[in-house]
Symmetry: C2
Subunit: 282 residues, 2 copies
DNA sequence: TATCATTTGTACGTATGTATT
DNA sequence: GAATACATACGTACAAATGAT
């Protein structure tokens, strides 16, 4: 292939900078090159480094797309795709009718990020809200989901949304053994995180609780319920609690917003790893 | 304005045409509606349900975009955006010059997915490869990253890529105490996962290892190194190992492809947490 | 309360580059 | 080399949400 000379594309380049309102002290004309990296990728890189570098800060507005088009000498689609990329990365927020803004949590380092996340087993904050979407009694567990323990005859199925500070951070679907649920205080599902409650106070005793965690992209439904970009990163967790007889008295599937999820694990030489005690899942 | 209506596309059944071979028994004209849900969202929903429902199976080809345009009576951009969405969700793979295909791991249930993932501490498979990108001796740990333990005076900094079955699944940056590293077998960093090696065999003993895990979207660099869609979901893990004196003799930051990451945790009142089982001192 | 300008979201049509078959 | 098919990119238009008037 020929390393061809760059096609001169100075269409809108000479236009005077009319960008005066924005706080964004963006630097002067960037020279984008038609080449191996797509134009939208180059634009995204520039903006990304402005965010990580501190030129753009949390909650800052970006200039309108039209102005960015002029500035970089590219079309609207190109800018849009760059913005889309950064939205998916969690660095920008774009909403109809408003300016595109830098995400509140953008630019903080990874270590700091960990302060804002919600460990699934942590105690809820003061501003924690629980919404019960629906409840169905006397249902059976779906086939093949029980990776430890044996299902019981009958469950209560609950779907809930948890919010912190008004923002939903987790949607979940859980099955609680019907007999056990009937013994719990009335309305407890609206007041408490059930798994921590069961582990601390339930009768009969919980013998073992196990969680599997994977990461994925939010599907349409999850994105809507979590007020989160479609295909944004999420954590999916499956949790099972068993009683001393090996009955799975609790099964839950959780989807956490990626920006609000974090877990900590210990590793050490004297500890047998949980999965070494497991039967292999096929 | 009136939609042009879906052109029935049944005639083109030339023998050479492999398109008719696709198992896409796509139903007859789907009526998309201009309304609250965007057209591309409707298309994405249809295809998504075909995948999860089994009409489209892993490694199946989608019809060319042009044909999808005709089928749904929408333009190329609309189809592309639907495909993009599903690519970001990990359900489709789109490559230049080839048909869009259904991702190999698409359509399997969450529980099943867990068998393909790589627990960070698991033993490497036979087809496991390690590439050392670079090595720098006698460096100090970056400021403020050490969430447990105290940094030592000098580290070896390594950047590596791990592959399984030829596919990269993790990129990492790690710091190993210089003195400790000098005592390790030569070239061990190219042959072994260092943390498990240290935990099992190092001298002095590791007293405690702790991991923090969050989820995020792949940035440009990570996406390239992992051969993964930009902004695709990834897990980021930070791990620190300390010796009995509380010195952080190992610090590592890892980025895992979302489709290859999974961890398991135990929870329960009668199971001592790993760190509770640790010998407190020698 | 209603209207208007601004700004982004969605969508169409078209053209060209580039990788695969 | 040719045909196929996706990626990128331009220009344009209208819809919908927001904020200010």
């Amino acid at each position: 292939m020929e390393s061809k000379g760059v096609v001169p594309r100075d269409a809108a380049k000479s236009t005077k900078d009319r960008i005066t309102e924005t706080k964004v002290a963006m630097s002067t004309a960037h020279d984008l090159q038609h080449g191996p990296t797509a134009l939208y990728g180059q634009v995204a890189s520039i903006i990304r480094s402005q965010i990580t570098g501190g030129t753009l800060r949390a909650d800052d507005d970006l200039p309108p797309i039209e102005q960015l088009c002029e500035r970089y000498g590219v079309s609207r689609i190109t800018i849009r795709q760059a913005i889309q990329t950064l939205v998916a990365e969690g660095l920008l927020i774009s909403r109809r009718g408003r300016r595109v803004t830098v995400a509140p949590q953008a630019g903080v380092s990874q270590a700091d990020t960990f302060k804002d996340v919600v460990d699934p087993m942590s105690a809820p904050q003061d501003d924690h809200e629980i919404t019960v979407l629906d409840r169905t009694d006397r249902v059976v567990l779906p086939e093949g989901v029980c990776f430890i323990g044996t299902p019981t005859a009958s469950y209560v199925r609950l779907r809930k949304v948890h919010r912190s500070g008004g923002v939903p951070y987790c949607v979940m679907e859980m099955y609680v053994d019907q007999a056990l649920f009937n013994r719990l205080p009335r309305g407890i599902e609206r007041r408490e995180k059930l798994a921590p409650f069961l582990i601390k106070r339930a009768n009969p005793e919980i013998k073992v609780g196990r969680e599997r965690i994977i990461v994925a992209a939010a599907d349409f439904e999850e994105a809507q319920m979590l007020e989160y970009p479609m295909a944004g990163p999420v954590a999916r967790m499956t949790r099972i609690l068993c009683d001393p007889d090996g009955n799975a008295i609790y099964y839950g599937r959780f989807t956490y917003r990626g920006d609000r999820f974090g877990v900590e694990r210990e590793q050490g030489p004297y500890v047998k790893q949980p999965w070494e005690q497991l039967r292999k899942s096929k």
